[in-house]
């Protein structure tokens, strides 16, 4: 062990250990995030140039605004009517592509009340930058 090249071996071990930890940690967090809670309420999200439509489980629809309750889990089933969009709520780090003919799922549980931005994150045409909606989280 008293060799002059021990530093290289320690370096290799340390770097490999850190990268393994990074991989394992990422895998665990991704597994956490992918698991949608069974009691989550489903919201159907439809994107089209250039606005968002939200449909609750009871059939009520909202356009450009979404009302949710804090402390409850919501599953979003996201699709598009025309081109590819991306459903993004930056504050709650939720993002998923809205693809025509396909239903993508994402979930989160809002923990803070207030107004938050919903924004399209995939360039979808002339008014892409204006394709926003308001998320209102109530107590």
């Amino acid at each position: 062990m008293g060799s002059h090249n021990m530093i290289e071996w320690v370096y290799i071990a340390a770097v490999v250990a850190i990268l393994t930890w990074v991989g394992a940690d990422s895998w665990v967090i991704e597994k956490y995030i992918d698991e949608i809670p069974e009691d989550a309420e489903t919201i159907k999200v439809t994107a089209q140039q250039w606005f968002w439509t939200f449909e609750h489980e009871d059939g009520t629809k909202e356009v450009g605004e979404l009302h949710l309750k804090a402390g409850k889990a919501y599953r979003f089933e996201v699709t598009s009517k025309d081109v590819i969009h991306a459903f993004n709520i930056p504050f709650y780090t939720a993002m998923i592509d809205a693809v025509p003919g396909r239903i993508n799922k994402v979930w989160f549980a809002p923990d803070q009340t207030g107004e938050f931005l919903i924004q399209c994150r995939e360039y979808c045409g002339l008014l892409h930058s204006q394709m926003r909606a308001k998320l209102i989280v109530e107590a």
């Binding site: 090249n5 940690d25 665990v28 939720a94």
Partner: protein, 102 residues
């Protein structure tokens, strides 16, 4: 010439020691931290699953981001440090230029 011989001897010696390191202790040196590092988050998730509480996605994702950033900086520092050390060692091992005496 003597200096050259010394360097030659040194390199041969180091090679033999290097080969000796690959067995046993070196393997455990590499594998032990690997094993511990990969087990920690898995055990952590196992205990968290028992609690069955709703995870805060925002906190988890940003937490992971900061941990990965810290890991990237540590790896970067380790790589830079070892490179500097290896260069320094190489420089010190090289034969020093002789002063010209006229």
């Amino acid at each position: 010439m003597i200096e050259h011989m010394r360097i030659f001897k040194y390199s041969v010696k180091s090679k033999s020691v290097g080969v000796g390191l690959t067995s046993g202790r070196l393997l455990s040196l590499i594998l032990a931290p690997l094993l511990v590092a990969s087990l920690i988050p898995i055990l952590d998730s196992a205990f968290a699953a028992e609690a069955e509480q709703l995870i805060n996605r925002r906190v988890e994702i940003w937490g992971l981001f900061y941990r990965l950033m810290a890991a990237a900086f540590v790896v970067g520092a380790a790589v830079q440090g070892v490179m500097a050390f290896v260069l320094f060692r190489f420089r010190e091992k090289k034969e020093k230029p002789q002063e010209v005496v006229r």
